[in-house]
């Protein structure tokens, strides 16, 4: 019987509905622990070519590409997606490496903030079972060895999935037992890392996956020796979307509004704060401040890209850097510098992408 039928029966019975009557498998909102699982938000940009090192790329938010000496890649927010979805995270190999060295690796990862996982009751006898579900597509069929990792307790859960048909969207579900060993710290650090393997060298691969939580003692636990190497041929592609991690059994993907998902992403990264400040003169043109769009996870790092401008009534000055960063989780606050000189005491208006979208101020508190 469907959960919807159960719920309808519950309503019809005249029973008072209390939280204990809605178990973990009931379909309710806010159940997906993944942010931007449908890959709709891509604040940094929609494509980045020539990738040879890891980091958060111009591709869907909250997914981090990790790469060490295993090919060259293009990462993008693709509009190719399964029915009911608009976007996916796409990786395409542009320089091949068919024979990885032992320590090479290539992963796509997603980090969940630890304080958002306290209801899993990990480290207790009541630890909750989870299900990870996702849509995946690749031109290369075969076995992929993935893992989840808990940094606080140094625990890993490895599993595999198979792509059966080339260039076809396939839906995968992975059941993950609750871990009764080691708690997840109730803080703003990394709670669970979800890692999708694109390819690895022999030092990050073993003959089998655990399909259970175990102590992390060796990086060979991260991969599988018969894992597909997506870096072996130029033009190989791998795409993912509809990523959902939830308590209990798999339920249909929880679609959120664009605005809702954007605000969730901005806790970790956003661009182009709009602010005013006061001129400090000399090469420090302004002390500028603004409220972040939402409370950030941690005090953010700041990066100036392109040529944002500051106007103080006497003309436009190009912002070339940040001479001091006082920002915290609530406020953007920084001294902005340039190579010329501003006017001390004047009100300053700073704009980033008013004329050119590549002129940016990046605010980064990612995990």
């Amino acid at each position: 019987m469907s959960q919807a039928r159960n719920f309808a029966d519950l309503l019809a019975s005249g029973t008072t509905i209390t939280s204990d009557k809605l178990d973990d498998n009931a379909i309710h909102g806010n159940r997906n622990l993944i942010i931007n699982g449908a890959c709709t938000i891509s604040q940094r940009g929609t494509s980045e070519t020539g990738i040879t090192s890891g980091g958060y790329k111009n591709a869907p938010d909250r997914f981090k590409f990790e790469l060490s000496s295993l090919g060259t890649w293009t990462a993008s927010q693709s509009t190719d997606a399964p029915d009911g979805f608009s976007n996916s995270y796409k990786l395409e190999c542009t320089t091949a490496d068919a024979s990885p060295s032992a320590d090479d690796f290539c992963f796509l990862q997603h980090f969940i903030e630890a304080q958002n996982l306290q209801h899993l009751k990990y480290g207790t006898s009541g630890a909750k079972n989870l299900t990870l579900s996702f849509w995946v597509k690749s031109n290369k069929t075969g076995t992929y060895g993935n893992y989840l990792y808990r940094q606080d307790a140094l625990r890993i859960y490895s599993y595999s999935y198979t792509i059966n048909t080339a260039n076809t969207w396939e839906y995968k579900t992975i059941n993950i037992s609750g871990d009764t060993t080691g708690a997840i710290a109730n803080d703003n650090g990394r709670g669970i890392r979800i890692s999708f393997t694109i390819g690895t060298g022999s030092n990050r691969a073993s003959g089998s996956v655990s399909n259970s939580w175990e102590s992390y003692t060796n990086k060979a636990q991260e991969g599988l020796s018969n894992q597909v190497n997506l870096a072996d041929t130029v033009g190989n592609t791998w795409q993912i979307t509809g990523v959902q991690l939830e308590v209990g059994e798999a339920t249909p993907f929880e679609h959120r509004s664009y605005g809702d998902e954007l605000r969730r992403c901005q806790r970790y990264y956003y661009e182009n704060p709009a602010f005013i400040g006061v001129g400090l003169g000399s090469s420090v043109i302004a002390r500028a401040t603004a409220t972040h769009p939402t409370s950030m996870r941690a005090s953010p790092s700041l990066t100036i890209a392109g040529s944002p401008e500051a106007f103080d009534g006497s003309g436009g000055l190009v912002v070339t850097g940040v001479s001091s960063n006082y920002s915290n989780t609530i406020l953007f606050n920084a001294d902005l510098s340039n190579t010329g000189s501003g006017s001390s005491g004047r009100a300053v208006c700073v704009v980033a992408n008013l004329y050119t979208s590549s002129n940016k101020i990046k605010v980064d508190a990612e995990l």
């Binding site: 005090s299 990066t303 890209a305 001091s324 915290n328 001294d335 980064d364 990612e366 995990l367």
Partner: protein, 60 residues
Amino acid sequence: MNNITITSAQYCNDIDGNQSSIKATIDGSEMSVPLDPANRHYAEIMRQVDAGTLTIQEAE
């Protein structure tokens, strides 16, 4: 795994001469990093300092 490349780091002082942040070149981009242990860039800078592979220059 934290695959971050840091090629330079220097403290920045506020107008009173107190350390306010770190200017660092991280993965090829210049960043202003707050002195917050929860910030992943600051945590990685300090990890590399502890490992003896990175030195933070004093403010100018």
